[in-house]
């Protein structure tokens, strides 16, 4: 028989910890003489006190007491407890009395100003009110105080002191118990001050109570009054708690608990014992947390539970014990949680969630025990034995027993009825509604303290509770979530359990999609589902597909909603499968690991029907990531059959270089009169097989023969071949001719939009700047690549492109030729590219040197003014190519030098037609490799002296095989200095002489200075010559003038003979002076030797012709 809901509620609330225990005890202060409902000022006063409590640390409970209120009387004080037997442990009303009914301090408010005209009358009124209250409290030790509510601040009223003393005397109050409360703007500050005064007063009251309780203890005997020991310790703890003496309170409660454990227990008193133990433990644990002793709290609680877990009591009330245990864990979890909110840190292995979880566990046990009770046909007893269970005198005593007679069994029949009532109430309690909130707070705590798996386990428990309470929808949702998590960790035994639970719930709630999902989870090949269950599930899935309700799960009633649920389905039911082998073994893969750009991707889909009946496969769809699905038609798949479908996925040109992967595979199962079903596999990149294939691990056997789930799109092979035709090495400065040759193959259409790109690979900036590419009239440095559009090439044709490359430095270069092109393919216009690298060695074409010599062929660095020097240029072809020198050009500092025109001296008489400044004599000279050419150019210094700028020697040349562009290569010519030459001596003599044939030598002394030089010339004799002329001759040379001295030399010997050497001495004022510098400069370039030929035996010979030929050299 169902028990009425209000009785069940009453029963449940009787099991809870009393409310007054749970709240933190506060000082109880009573206000008398205030009427906040009718008097405005009184209301503000009450508000001032009650609102200030939020910020104040004193916990004070204010109660407004009517003037004629009766207070609970104090019990007569015992002097001996000898014959007193306690009837119970803790009195139910005691806490309430001290919290609400009996104030520690009564404050009497009275409106009275010091300067009140009717002082005496009002004084009497006040004292009579004090007396009335005092009379009401006559047996209690409650403190009294008077507060005078005054209109204005007291200031310095002269009457104040006198009248205060007067009033105190009239009311029989100590002067300290009289205060004044002016109604001003600072009311709340006055209130705060008064509050601490009240608090002080209350403290003395509670202190007195504590002392009184301690005094009792002396009178108690251990043998009879054990319950009183507990009671006194509880009271002590309570008052200490009110006094905010937490340490003392904690100690007192602990002692009370210790005394409680010493009480003798029978099955009859156990209930009371457990209730009081819970109350004491609650206080102990809360105070331990409050004092920041969480370890002590936990230890106490553990001990508490350990001690009482085994004390079940009478077996028929085991269900009550389970409830009690659950309640213990619950309140401890709540207290722990409160402590955490106050700032206590918790850790993963010690947090409130663990206790809520245990509470839920015991709650579940309670439910199981209650369900197992043999209560068939039992009637709820009348009169209700549980009536008044909240009004028993003592906590935890049975309401059906006579008050206070809990110790001995009085009436067996009533006892039985009482137990039956409890059992019936327990049976009617919806335990799930109690357990689910516990689980949900446990879950939130486990989540907070990083226990995902614990959370999952609790979610399963919660789902079980929901299922038991009939809320299958919620159970299915929870189990669906948990299933994914367990499956991702591959805990198959748990997957089986969760999926089986889910399947039951889904069956009972007639939910098609969850039912199929759970069945699929159990049918997966990886899951160790028993074979007979597999067969049953498979059959059920097929029944569903045939629009028939499935067989009920074992132990389930037939769910009636299935036909309606199946009839409502018109769209394909999506069924996401996580395992490859569920119902259908499905393996999808690319046909190859690499696809060329623009070629279609082939996907192979291997399907095998794992179920016992044919599957009406309609279409198979494969989706490659980032694009739409590709559909292939299928046919019915008979049981056990295997089929391979191949799908072509059109190529996308933009996928070049990227990895494409299979995203989903879906099979549409549909047939007439059949439930349409869509099986979906998500082949995400996290997929196990893909994971394995990516890391090269061995993959399952069926997969090995197929490719992977991803493939790479690679460029197509180049249609063009690129070659460079050239004659290395390149010479510095020349425009090097290089022919790029692009040949197209015949494997496709014509190649269009051909662009040839020339660039330098890995060249530094300097080299890049000194490299130019010449194309047509364009010449640009190769610091930027050159792009040359080349049009299109037909298959098997080729395209040649001539390029010029000019390198101005001799460093080697890597020239890259690249061709970009487009080709028309089946997938659209495809871009292609081919590259070819040319290593280019660059060498200098010549080795050139230009040196300066005097006419005597001695190297010189300086030339006298008006004198002539020779510049000898040598050009050696060091390169491997034959080079044609087209012309040469010597350029000297024009202000100082005149370059002798060599034109007249050309042997072949060809002159430079272009009128280039003369100064180089070489024209159109072909130099083979390693050949040299030398030319000599005379330069004459001008009259002015000075340091000349360096000259230059330019050779204009080209390779003999490439005729077009002449190249000029410049080499520096030495910078000759022109020195002043005031005195110049020249010798005029034939090129050679003949033995015993006189030869005339004429020395000319020229004065280029502004002074007259007086000179003496002395001819030193020479062995080879006899000479005629002045041997010693003194003369003067005027400025600008000259003097000639003629000698006839008669060579005596042949060969290279030393000429008689003239010596000059400068005279000044008739005496020789030292002027070595002047003289040396004048004589330096005189010839010192001459070649004398032996006399010819024959006739005369052409001496003149011979002389000319020597000059030409």
């Amino acid at each position: 028989m169902a028990v009425p809901q209000e009785k069940v509620d009453a029963y449940l609330s009787s099991l809870d910890l009393p409310e007054e225990l749970k709240q933190v005890p506060q000082v109880n202060v009573g206000f008398v003489g205030l009427d906040p409902k009718n008097v405005e000022t009184h209301k503000t006063i009450v508000d001032a006190f009650t609102s200030s409590r939020k910020v104040d640390t004193h916990g004070i409970h204010y109660s407004i007491i009517a003037g004629d209120r009766e207070f609970p009387p104090a019990k007569p004080k015992r002097t001996t407890y000898e014959w007193f037997l306690p009837k119970g442990i803790l009195k139910r009303k005691w806490m309430k009395k001290h919290l609400y009914d009996l104030p520690a301090v009564v404050i009497i408010f009275f409106d009275l100003d010091w300067g009140d005209p009717a002082w005496n009358e009002k004084k009497i009124g006040c004292s009579s009110r004090v007396k009335a209250i005092r009379a009401a409290l006559t047996t209690q030790q409650t403190r009294l105080a008077v507060v005078l509510v005054q209109r204005a601040a007291a200031g310095d009223d002269p009457q104040a002191a006198e009248r205060a003393a007067d009033l105190c005397a009239a009311c029989d109050l100590p002067p300290k118990s009289l205060w004044v409360l002016p109604i001003t703007d600072h009311l709340s500050q006055y209130a705060m001050r008064l509050e601490s005064a009240f608090y002080e007063l209350a403290q003395t009251y509670y202190h007195q109570r504590v002392k009184a309780i301690r005094a009792h203890r002396e009178l108690l005997s251990k043998s009879h009054h054990q319950a009183l020991f507990v009671r006194h310790q509880f009271k002590l703890g309570f008052f200490c708690e009110v006094r905010q003496d937490m340490a003392a309170a904690y100690k007192a409660y602990q002692q009370g608990y210790a005394h409680l454990l010493e009480l003798p227990t029978t099955d009859l008193t156990l209930c009371e014992l457990k209730v009081v133990a819970a109350m004491l433990s609650f206080k102990v644990c809360r105070l331990a947390f409050r004092q920041n002793l969480p370890r002590d709290a936990i230890a106490h609680f553990r001990r508490h539970v350990e001690l009482f877990r085994a004390r079940v009591g009478p077996q028929e009330l085991a269900v009550e014990h389970c409830g009690w245990l659950a309640q213990q864990y619950q309140w401890f979890g709540e207290v722990f949680d409160q402590a955490i909110q106050m700032g206590l840190p918790a850790i993963q292995t010690q947090h409130p969630g663990l206790y809520f979880e245990q509470a839920a566990l015991h709650g579940r046990k309670r439910h199981q025990t209650a369900a197992a009770l043999p209560l068939d046909g039992a009637q709820y007893p009348s009169p209700d034995p549980l009536a008044g269970s909240l009004e028993t005198d003592f906590f935890g005593q049975r309401p059906w027993r006579p008050a206070g007679r809990n110790v001995e069994l009085m009436d067996t029949e009533r006892e039985k009825l009482g137990v039956l009532a409890i059992q019936l109430c327990e049976r009617s309690v919806n335990h799930h509604n109690l357990v689910i909130p516990l689980l949900s707070s446990a879950i939130s705590h486990f989540k907070k303290y990083h226990c995902p798996r614990m959370k999952e386990r609790l979610m399963v428990q919660m789902a079980e509770e929901y299922a038991l309470s009939g809320d299958h929808d919620k159970a299915v949702i929870l189990l669906g979530k948990v299933l994914l998590l367990y499956r991702s960790e591959r805990w198959w035994p748990l997957v089986v359990q969760v999926a089986s639970l889910g399947l039951r719930s889904a069956y009972l709630s007639c939910q098609l999609e969850p039912y199929l999902a759970m069945a699929a989870a159990l049918l997966s090949a990886a899951v160790p589902t028993p074979a007979e269950q597999r067969a049953r599930l498979d059959a059920n899935v097929h029944r569903l597909m045939a629009r028939q309700p499935p067989e009920p799960e074992p132990g389930c009633a037939v769910a009636a909603g299935w036909p309606a649920a199946l009839a409502a389905v018109h769209q394909p039911v999506p069924l996401e499968l996580s395992s490859r082998d569920t119902l259908v073994s499905c393996s999808a893969s690319f046909g190859a690991a690499r696809y060329q750009q623009g070629r279609p991707l082939t996907v192979r889909l291997r399907l095998a029907n794992l179920s016992a009946a044919p599957l009406p496969l309609q279409t198979a769809r494969v989706a490659v990531a980032g694009r739409g699905a590709q559909t292939a038609a299928g046919g019915p798949l008979p049981a056990g059959a295997e089929r391979v479908l191949t799908l072509d996925v059109p190529a996308r040109l933009a996928e070049l270089g990227s990895v494409v992967w299979l995203e989903t595979v879906a099979l549409e199962l549909a047939a007439p009169d059949c439930l349409p079903l869509r099986l979906e596999w998500k082949l995400s990149l996290g997929d196990e097989q893909l994971h394995q294939s990516m890391f090269g691990l061995p993959v399952g056997a069926p997969f090995a023969e197929l490719g992977g789930l991803c493939a790479t799109v690679v460029p197509r092979p180049a249609r063009l071949t690129l070659a460079a035709d050239h004659r290395p090495p390149a010479l510095v400065g020349e425009v090097y001719q290089l022919e790029a040759c692009l040949t197209c193959d015949d494997l496709g259409a014509e190649v269009t939009d051909l662009v040839l790109e020339v660039s330098l690979l890995g060249a530094d900036e300097e080299t890049a700047k000194n490299t130019f590419v010449v194309y047509g009239d364009m010449c640009q440095p190769l610091s930027q690549p050159l792009q040359l559009p080349c049009g299109s090439v037909q298959p098997l044709a080729s395209c040649r492109q001539l390029l010029g490359v000019q390198c101005l430095t001799a460093a080697g270069r890597q020239l890259q030729l690249a061709a970009r092109y487009s080709e028309q393919t089946e997938a659209g216009l495809c871009q292609g590219r081919v590259a070819h690298t040319v290593g280019l060695e660059v060498v200098h074409p010549f080795q050139m040197s230009v040196r300066a010599v005097a006419l005597t062929l001695e190297p010189v660095e300086a030339v006298g003014a008006d004198q002539t020097a020779l510049l000898i240029a040598q050009i050696t072809n060091t390169g491997p190519h034959t080079v044609r020198l087209r012309s040469t050009l010597l350029q000297m500092d024009e202000t100082l030098f005149t370059v002798c025109d060599s034109e007249g001296e050309e042997e072949d008489g060809t002159t430079s037609e272009d009128g280039a400044p003369a100064g180089g004599g070489l024209r159109d000279l072909v130099l083979q490799p390693m050949e040299s050419a030398t030319e000599c150019v005379a330069v004459t210094a001008g009259a002015a002296a000075g340091a000349a700028q360096p000259g230059s020697y330019t050779v204009i040349w080209n390779r003999s095989e490439w005729d077009d562009r002449p190249v000029s290569t410049v080499s520096p010519a030495p910078a000759l200095q022109v020195v002043p030459c005031p005195l110049q001596v020249t010798a005029d003599l034939p090129a050679h002489g003949t033995v015993r044939t006189p030869l005339a030598v004429r020395y000319t002394v020229t004065n280029r200075s502004a002074h007259v030089y007086s000179l003496m010339m002395l001819m030193e004799p020479s062995d080879g010559f006899i000479f005629a002329g002045n041997k010693r001759y003194q003369f003067r040379v005027v400025p600008g003038g000259s003097r000639q001295l003629t000698y006839n030399l008669y060579p005596r010997l042949s060969g290279r003979l030393t000429l008689p050497r003239p010596r000059l001495t400068l005279y000044r004022d008739g005496a020789p002076v030292e002027a070595a510098e002047l003289i040396d400069a004048a004589l330096r370039h005189l010839p010192t030797h001459i070649c004398v030929m032996p006399q010819e035996k024959g006739g005369p010979h052409d001496v003149q012709g011979l002389t000319d030929s020597i000059r030409a050299l």
């Binding site: 539970v305 877990r309 993963q348 292995t349 245990q358 990083h450 226990c451 995902p452 798996r453 614990m454 999952e456 386990r457 399963v460 960790e489 591959r490 805990w491 198959w492 035994p493 748990l494 359990q497």
Partner: protein, 139 residues
């Protein structure tokens, strides 16, 4: 001695689980699975300080009213879990350590078998025998 011994793979999938009472196997699956929360937390905490000189024995992971759960993690992230009864107070930490060491040795021997594929459930008989000895308490 132990009521449950389990070997958990690198990716937290169970490789082996033996219980003294086969009927309670599912319950122990839950117990071992939830113990992984603490194992992971402990491994994450030690991983930061000294990865190489880490103590393999993780100590008591958690305890319920009925059971105490101990953990051990090899350097290759294979986890061993031993569950003992909470009532069995005679068993000392040292004994648990010894059991873990034996378990580790047995596992190492088992892995040395070239026919064993890593991360697959353990079916080796020699390993099973060793674990059964631990569960029954025979040494």
């Amino acid at each position: 001695m132990a009521v449950c011994v389990a070997v958990i793979g690198k990716e937290n999938a169970p490789l082996y689980l033996l219980t003294a009472d086969p009927a309670a196997e599912l319950q122990f699956h839950y117990t071992v699975h939830t113990a992984l929360d603490v194992v992971e937390e402990k491994l994450a905490a030690t991983g930061k300080t000294a990865a190489d000189s880490r103590e393999l024995y993780l100590g008591a992971l958690y305890s319920t009213e009925e059971h105490r759960v101990f953990g051990y993690a090899t350097n290759t992230k294979i986890k061993f879990i031993i569950v003992v009864e909470a009532a069995n107070v005679s068993i000392r930490d040292n004994e648990i350590r010894t059991m873990f060491r034996r378990l580790h040795a047995a596992y190492t021997d088992m892995v040395c078998n070239p026919f064993y594929l890593p991360a697959r459930p353990i079916t080796a008989r020699a390993f099973d025998r060793t674990v059964r000895q631990m569960v029954t308490g025979a040494s």
